[in-house]
């Protein structure tokens, strides 16, 4: 069995990659992808821990797995709304460059 540490390390790498993507990419689509990457990094960590807690004993820890389902549902809803907004913006401006979308400021 692969040790939990590897999963967690992979999760951390994915999370950082996603974070760097959010901070550096200008395209809104890429931003979305990066956010999804971060969410799934977290998901990976959660299922890894869930498995670690259940291993060996008679007890089966489902908390982490249940949390993953919630995250997936939220991510799906977020993408649906986010992409809707994105399409609307694109129709108006023919661009999804987030640096150009800075009208909402003081």
């Amino acid at each position: 069995m692969v040790a939990t540490e590897y999963y967690v390390a992979l999760s951390a790498v994915l999370f950082v990659l996603g974070g760097v993507g959010v901070l550096t990419r200008r395209s809104a689509i890429m931003l979305f992808l990066s956010v999804e990457l971060m969410l799934n990094a977290a998901n990976l960590a959660m299922v890894a821990y869930a498995r670690a807690w259940s291993a060996g004993g008679a007890r089966i820890a489902l908390d982490g797995q249940a949390a993953v389902f919630i995250v997936l549902a939220v991510a799906a809803a977020e993408v649906a709304v986010g992409l809707g907004i994105l399409v609307a913006i694109f129709r108006n401006r023919v661009s999804t460059n987030v640096d150009e979308l800075s009208e909402v400021r003081a």
């Binding site: 974070g19 959010v22 901070l23 200008r26 931003l31 987030v98 640096d99 979308l101 800075s102 009208e103 909402v104 400021r105 003081a106």
Partner: protein, 640 residues
């Protein structure tokens, strides 16, 4: 008998109904109708008072009419009811009788006024309040009437409120009266503390059992005196009455001469049982009365306004009444209330008739010779002048003589300057005769000094105005005979009121001394009139001009400077304090809040720079924030 008296309880109600009818429907009634409604309401009250008078005369016992409870707090209750005895019934007769004549007169006087129905509504409301004041069986109900007449007085003084000066005069009267009312309230509190009740009859019954001359009783007496000085325009609260002449003349006659200003005298007579065991308070009453009489009489000499002279005269005459009750001669005070109601109402109505004829002129220097043009007004005014001056065989002579004699023989005043008071009153009586001669002669006698254009319009007033003058003139002559000096014959007023007031202590001088006092009192009146004749007729006013530069004459014209003094002492201090507070509000509170509010946009100016609108900047801030929180949590050991 009792039933007949009890019916008199309806008198205030009828007056109140008259007031309500005029207040709500008066605008729809054609001109004389509101006046007739008002007059009938007061006339009906007079008939009921007359019945009560006969009833009380027969039975002699006071009749109490109860309507239940006024208020209850714990085991303390105040009943709501009327106490009808000789004193209150006599006052009711004066209020409704003289009041009726004045209402009738006002039908003519207020002719064509925009506020015709409003006038009669307020006048009727006044009569209702005044009746409640004199009929009340508890101090609380009396206070209701006391405040009611105060409000009506203010409303009627400021009746022509579109002139700000009139409204100001009304306000002044109300505020000065409030000081007296404050005394009334404190007196009630103290009465409750000492006697445990506010029922007048109970207090009267308990008073003789109290500790003679104790501080608490003296305090009650002095506080009721403060109340009386406000309502009755005595020193030092007399300043409102001369200004009260801003009201229509029937108001001056009814409220500021015949009835309301005598409420203080009535109050002291009503609480005479308390004063009987508080000699210190009683002596103070006498001194206040005499000093007021003297000061106001001197002030009356220097005035030039036809009504202001009468106003100071009223203050002076009420001073006589207060002096009488202060001497313990409660009957003499009320007797003077009775005679004064006739001749002073007559003087005011006569003055009103003159003002009416001259189209609003009130300066007596621009009058003169009107006796020939206005026969009824002139003749009746002459009778009233002689009556108030104290000429023998007219009403004023008998009541004034009774008062002067009372100060001379009073046991209460014997040790506190009774003799001085006697001489001061004699001098005041002489001054009274002098200024009343001046008043009469400058208006009705001598040559005409009318403004051009006025002379042709002068006319005698209509019958609806002169008829009350004639009735009052007859009263001014005859009413004094109910109270002939006691050493000659039975004094009916004294006997009548003896059942309702406490008995004062008096020494009984020999008959020769009594005659000397009577003759002296007559002589003083004649000397005063003779002096007036000499100054204004023989010397044709040259003497008056020469005396006009003296210090006393200046003091008289300025009425001893009470108004400027009070203005500097109270009005200016008050407005100064108000301005200081206003400055504090504007400069500290307002300015402080405004500058505090100015900080917010300043702070906002700094914070708004962070809201750049760049999503990636926000995201970066989020990451940094989350990392920071994680770092802190790790350092604190929250995450294990």
């Amino acid at each position: 008998m009792t039933d007949m008296v009890a019916w008199a309880s309806l008198a205030p109600l009828i007056a109140l109904v008259g007031a309500l009818v005029n207040a709500f429907f008066g605008k729809n009634l054609k001109e004389p109708a509101p006046g007739i409604v008002g007059s009938v309401a007061v006339g009906a009250g007079f008939v009921l008072s007359l019945l009560a008078f006969i009833g009380v005369a027969g039975g002699g016992e006071a009749v109490r009419v109860g309507f239940g409870e006024f208020l209850r707090a714990g085991d303390f209750t105040v009943s709501l009811g009327f106490h009808l005895d000789q004193l209150s019934v006599l006052m009711m007769m004066i209020i409704t009788g003289v009041g009726f004549l004045i209402h009738v007169y006002a039908i003519g006087y207020m002719h064509g006024d925009d506020g015709y129905s409003r006038f009669f509504a307020q006048l009727n409301l006044f009569v209702a309040s005044m009746l409640v004041l004199v009929m009340a069986d508890s101090f609380v109900l009396m206070f209701v009437g006391w405040e009611g007449v105060g409000v009506c007085s203010m409303l009627l003084i400021g009746f022509w409120y579109k002139d700000l000066a009139n409204a100001g005069a009304g306000r002044k009267a109300f505020i000065v009266n409030r000081i007296g009312d404050f005394g009334f309230l404190l007196a009630m509190f103290l009465t409750f503390k000492v006697f445990g009740t506010l029922d007048i009859a109970t207090v009267t019954a308990m008073a003789p059992t109290m500790l003679y001359g104790s501080a608490a009783l003296t305090g009650i007496g002095l506080l009721y005196l403060l109340a009386a000085t406000g309502k009755s325009a005595q020193l030092p609260l007399h300043v409102w009455l001369p200004d009260a002449m801003a009201g229509p003349t029937p108001v001056s006659a009814l409220i500021h001469a015949a009835t309301m200003v005598t409420a203080g005298v009535y109050l002291i007579a009503r609480t005479s049982a308390v004063y009987a065991v508080a000699p210190g308070a009683l002596a103070t009453v006498a001194w206040i009365g005499v000093l007021t009489a003297l000061v106001a009489a001197i002030a009356a000499v220097g005035q030039t306004d036809i009504k202001r002279i009468l106003a100071y005269s009223t203050i002076s005459q009420v001073g006589f009444m207060v002096a009488a009750v202060g001497a313990g001669a409660y009957w003499a005070g009320i007797f003077h209330v009775l005679t004064h109601a006739f001749f002073k109402a007559l003087l005011f109505l006569g003055a009103g008739s003159v003002i009416h004829a001259l189209g609003g002129e009130q300066d007596i220097r621009k009058m003169g010779g009107l006796g020939k043009r206005m026969k009824v007004t002139g003749t009746t005014a002459l009778i009233a002048t002689l009556a108030i001056a104290g000429v023998p065989f007219l009403s004023g002579f008998f009541s004034k003589d009774a008062i002067v004699v009372a100060t001379f023989t009073s046991g209460v005043l014997a040790d506190v300057g009774g003799g001085v008071l006697f001489w001061l009153l004699m001098i005041t009586a002489g001054i009274t005769a002098f200024y009343m001669f001046r008043w009469y002669y400058l208006i009705f006698g001598g040559e005409e000094r009318l403004d051009r254009g006025v002379a042709e319009r002068v006319h005698e007033s209509p019958a609806v105005m002169t008829a009350p003058l004639v009735v009052l003139a007859i009263g001014s002559v005859l009413i004094g005979y109910v109270g002939l000096p006691a050493f000659l014959t039975d004094n009916r007023v004294q006997a009548w009121l003896a059942r309702a007031t406490a008995a004062g202590e008096f020494s009984h001088p020999s008959v020769a001394t009594e005659w000397l006092l009577v003759l002296g009192s007559a002589a003083v009146a004649l000397v005063g009139l003779g002096l007036g004749y000499w100054v204004y007729v023989t010397s044709k006013g040259a003497l008056a001009k020469r005396a006009g530069d003296t210090v006393l004459a200046g003091a008289s014209r300025g009425a001893f400077g009470f108004d400027p003094l009070y203005k500097a002492l109270f009005t200016d201090t008050g407005s100064g304090a108000a301005e200081a507070v206003s400055l504090l509000d504007k400069e500290v509170v307002d300015r402080g809040l405004v500058s505090l509010a100015g900080l917010v946009p300043l702070l906002g100016g700094v914070v708004r720079r962070w809201q750049s609108g760049h999503i990636r900047a926000y995201a970066f801030a989020m990451f940094v924030g989350a990392a920071g929180l994680a770092l802190v949590a790790a350092l604190l050991g929250v995450l294990k």
